[in-house]
C-alpha cells in the first residue's frame, strides 16, 4: 500500500516541527527519513501513524490513495515500532505479540487457536521460538527489538513504521539487525518507513532516502543520488565527512584556499561568495606540484589504522582539513607529521553561501 502526505505542518507550542512537508512512498518500498534531531522526522512518522495530529490546514494523509487523516490511530492498521520498543512489561513475549489480535472486537477476533498459530509463526520469523514465555526484561536489546517488530507485524499492517529502530543498540547488534531487517523486508515486502539519524544506516538499508532538516525535506533520492549529487549544502554536510571552504566565484572559476578550480556545472552562476565542499577521499596529496591546481598544506597528524590513511592538514590559508589516501599511496609518499604537501581537489561541490 502506498503512503502519500501532502503539505503537512505541525507546531508544538511555539516550535514548528514540520513546515509543509509532502512525500510519497510507493507500495513495497523501504524508505528512510534521515536527519539530525529536531529535523521533524519522528514527528512526520508519528503523523503518518496517527499518533500526532497535523496542524489545521495541512493536506491529506493517504494510504493507497484513500485519505485516512480523519481515522484514529487504531483504525489505520499500521505497524509501529517504537524507539525504546515499548513492549508491555508485564506480559510475556507471546502475549505481547498476540496483543493486537486479542484486543479486536469479538466479531473480528480470530479464534484462540488461530492467534496461537499466528504468534508461533511470528516467533519463528524472529527466531525466538524458545523465548515465548519470557518477559521483556529477560531479553537483550536486540531480542526486544525483534519482539517489537513481531508484535507490529501480527496485525498484518499494510504499512510498517519504525522510529529509530536500532538507536538503542550497540554497534555489532545494530549491524546484525540491519541485515536481518533488510532480508525480512525482501521477504514480506510491506511498505516501510524508518526514521534514523545515522546516515550509514539509511544509506545501507533504504531504497530511497528522505533527508530532512528543520522541518523541511532537503532532498529525496536513492542513496547514490543523495550521497553523490547532494542538492544542498546541508545534504552534502550531513552525509559523509566533508571539508568546507569559503570561497568566491570569479569568471567561471572557483577560488578557495589559494587554489583556483574550474567551476562544476551545478555551481551557482550568480552567487559571489560560495561554500566549497570536498570529501576527504576526493583530495589527492602529493609532495610536489603535479601540474593540477593544488594548494600547499602542512601535515598535523597522521592516523594510519584502518583501510585508508587519514591525514589532518592545515592549509596555508589557515583552513583545517582532512584527507584520506590509500595505504600504498601513503607509503610511496613517505610523509610524516610536519611534512609539506600539495593538495589537489579531484571533485568539488559548490553551493551559494547562505
Amino acid at each position: 500500500m502506498s503512503i502519500e502526505v501532502h503539505n503537512i505542518s505541525k507546531t508544538f507550542g511555539t516550535f514548528q516541527a514540520l513546515k509543509g512537508v509532502s512525500l510519497r512512498v510507493e507500495t513495497g518500498e523501504l524508505v528512510a527519513l534521515l536527519g539530525p534531531s529536531g529535523s521533524g522526522k519522528t514527528t512526520l512518522l508519528r503523523i503518518i501513524a496517527g499518533l500526532e495530529q497535523p496542524d489545521a490546514g495541512s493536506g491529506p494523509i493517504c494510504f493507497a490513495d484513500t485519505d485516512v487523516a480523519g481515522r484514529s490511530v487504531g483504525d489505520r492498521q499500521v505497524g509501529f515500532v517504537f524507539q525504546h520498543y515499548a513492549l508491555f512489561r508485564h506480559m510475556t513475549v507471546f502475549d505481547n505479540i498476540a496483543f493486537g489480535l486479542k484486543v479486536r472486537p469479538r466479531r473480528v477476533r480470530p479464534p484462540r487457536g488461530v492467534i496461537r498459530d499466528k504468534v508461533l509463526s511470528l516467533l519463528k520469523l524472529i527466531q525466538l521460538e524458545s523465548l515465548a514465555n519470557r518477559y521483556p526484561h529477560q531479553l537483550s536489546g536486540g531480542q526486544r527489538q525483534r519482539v517489537a517488530l513481531a508484535r507490529a507485524l501480527a496485525i498484518e499492517p499494510k504499512v510498517l513504521l519504525l522510529d529509530e529502530p536500532f538507536g538503542a543498540l550497540d554497534a555489532k547488534v545494530r549491524q546484525e539487525l540491519r541485515e536481518w531487517l533488510r532480508r525480512l523486508h525482501e521477504e514480506i515486502h510491506v511498505t516501510s518507513v524508518f526514521v534514523t539519524h545515522d546516515q550509514e544506516e539509511a544509506l545501507e538499508l533504504a531504497a530511497r532516502i528522505v533527508v530532512m532538516n528543520e522541518g523541511r525535506i532537503e532532498q529525496i533520492g536513492t542513496p547514490e543520488q543523495v550521497f553523490h549529487s547532494p542538492q544542498s549544502a546541508f545534504v552534502m554536510n550531513f552525509l559523509g565527512h566533508v571539508n568546507l571552504f569559503h570561497g568566491r566565484m570569479e569568471e567561471g572559476k572557483v577560488r578557495f584556499a589559494t587554489v583556483s578550480c574550474d567551476a562544476p556545472d551545478h555551481a551557482p552562476a550568480s552567487a559571489e561568495a560560495v561554500m566549497v565542499f570536498v570529501r576527504p577521499h576526493e583530495l589527492d596529496v602529493d609532495t610536489k606540484r603535479n601540474g593540477h591546481p593544488s594548494f600547499s598544506a602542512t601535515v598535523l597528524r597522521v592516523s594510519s589504522a584502518g583501510p585508508n590513511v587519514r591525514l589532518e592538514l592545515v592549509a596555508d590559508s589557515g583552513d583545517q582539513i582532512y584527507a584520506e589516501i590509500p595505504q600504498e599511496r601513503f607509503k610511496a609518499l613517505s610523509i610524516t607529521r610536519g611534512s609539506r604537501v600539495f593538495v589537489t581537489p579531484r571533485e568539488i561541490r559548490v553551493f551559494a553561501e547562505t
Binding site: 501513524a49 496517527g50 499518533l51 484514529s72 490511530v73 487504531g74 483504525d75 492498521q77 499500521v78 505497524g79 509501529f80 517504537f82 525504546h84 515499548a86 513492549l87 508491555f88 512489561r89 508485564h90 496483543f99 493486537g100 484486543v103 479486536r104 518477559y135 526484561h137 529477560q138 531479553l139 537483550s140 536489546g141 531480542q143 508484535r151 507490529a152 501480527a154 496485525i155
Partner: protein, 276 residues
C-alpha cells in the same frame, strides 16, 4: 560510630514508638480481658466503629478513582492548568486538618454559603455523617494520586501508544496495559489512604459535633471516653486503631517487599539477558 548511630535510632524508635504502643495495650487490658471486650460491645463504641468503617468504605474508593484519574491526566497528557491541578492535589497535605474541617463548616454550616439552601431542603451536612465523609475524602485525597503520579510519569506513554496503534480502545488500554503496570503503587496508595481515612481526627472533629452514637468516629470516641476519665474504655477503642496501624504497616511492608522483589528480579534478569 556505626553502632552509636544505630543505637540512637533504635533508642529513639523504642522511646517514641514502641513504648506508647505497649502502653496503649497495657492500659486497655489493665482491668482484664472482660472489660476490654465489653468496651468494644458498648453501643456507642459499636456505632463509632460502624461510622469509621462507613467513612472508609466511601472515602477510599472515591479517592482511588480520583487518584487514578488525576494521575493519569497529569502523567500522560499535557493540558492547561496541569500545574494548578498538581498543586491542588497537595493542598490537603499542606493545610492543617482543623482548617480543612473549618472550610466545610464555612461551606455547609448553618451560616455558611450553602447553609440556607441545605436547610430549605432539610439536608444536614455539618454535625452529620455527610460532613464527616466529605472531610475525610478531602483529607485523604492526595494519597493515591501522590503515589501514582511519579510512577506513571516514569513509565511514560509509549506502552499506551503501542496499545492504541495495535487497535486497543481507551478502556482496553487502561485495563490491559496501564492498570497492571501501576497495580503495586496503587495498592500502596490505597493502604495509606485507608489508614488515614480511619484514623483522621482533626478535620472530622471540627465537622462532627461529637454526638455520641451518631457522629463519633473511633478517634473521636476515644477522645470522648478519655475526657470522661474512662481510661480503660478509651484505650480499649484506641487499641483497635493501633491494631489497624499495625496491620497497615504489615500490609505496606508486604506490598513494598513484593514491589522490590519485582524490581530486583527485573534488574537481575535484565543483566543476565544482556550477557546471554
Amino acid at each position: 560510630m556505626r553502632w552509636l548511630l544505630i543505637g540512637v535510632a533504635l533508642g529513639f524508635l523504642a522511646l517514641f514508638l514502641a513504648v506508647p504502643l505497649v502502653a496503649v495495650f497495657a492500659q486497655a487490658l489493665s482491668k482484664g480481658l472482660g472489660p476490654y471486650f465489653a468496651a468494644h460491645w458498648e453501643p456507642d463504641a459499636l456505632a463509632a466503629i460502624r461510622l469509621t468503617l462507613l467513612t472508609a468504605v466511601i472515602a477510599v474508593p472515591v479517592n482511588t478513582l480520583f487518584g487514578v484519574v488525576a494521575s493519569w491526566a497529569i502523567a500522560k497528557f499535557n493540558f492547561i492548568g496541569k500545574n494548578l491541578l498538581l498543586t491542588i492535589v497537595d493542598l490537603p497535605f499542606t493545610v492543617s486538618p482543623v482548617v480543612s474541617g473549618l472550610v466545610f463548616v464555612l461551606l455547609f454550616g448553618r451560616t455558611g454559603w450553602a447553609g440556607p439552601w441545605l436547610e430549605d431542603h432539610d439536608l444536614k451536612v455539618i454535625f452529620a455523617v455527610p460532613g464527616i465523609v466529605l472531610a475525610t475524602v478531602f483529607v485523604t485525597f492526595p494519597f493515591v494520586a501522590r503515589e501514582l503520579i511519579p510512577l506513571m510519569q516514569a513509565q511514560g506513554t509509549e506502552e499506551e501508544e503501542a496499545a492504541r496503534v495495535l487497535g486497543a480502545g481507551g478502556w482496553q488500554t487502561f485495563r490491559r496495559v496501564t492498570l497492571p503496570n501501576i497495580k503495586w503503587g496503587l495498592l500502596y496508595g490505597v493502604i495509606l489512604c485507608n489508614a488515614r481515612a480511619m484514623g483522621e481526627f482533626g478535620a472530622v472533629s471540627v465537622v462532627s459535633g461529637h454526638i455520641r452514637g451518631i457522629t463519633n468516629t473511633m478517634p473521636l470516641q476515644v477522645e470522648v471516653l478519655y475526657n470522661e476519665y474512662n481510661f480503660s474504655a478509651a484505650f480499649s477503642v484506641a487499641s483497635l486503631l493501633t491494631m489497624l496501624a499495625v496491620v497497615t504497616l504489615v500490609l505496606k511492608t508486604l506490598v513494598e517487599w513484593q514491589n522490590k522483589r519485582h524490581m530486583a528480579l527485573a534488574a537481575r534478569e535484565a543483566a543476565e539477558g544482556i550477557h546471554r
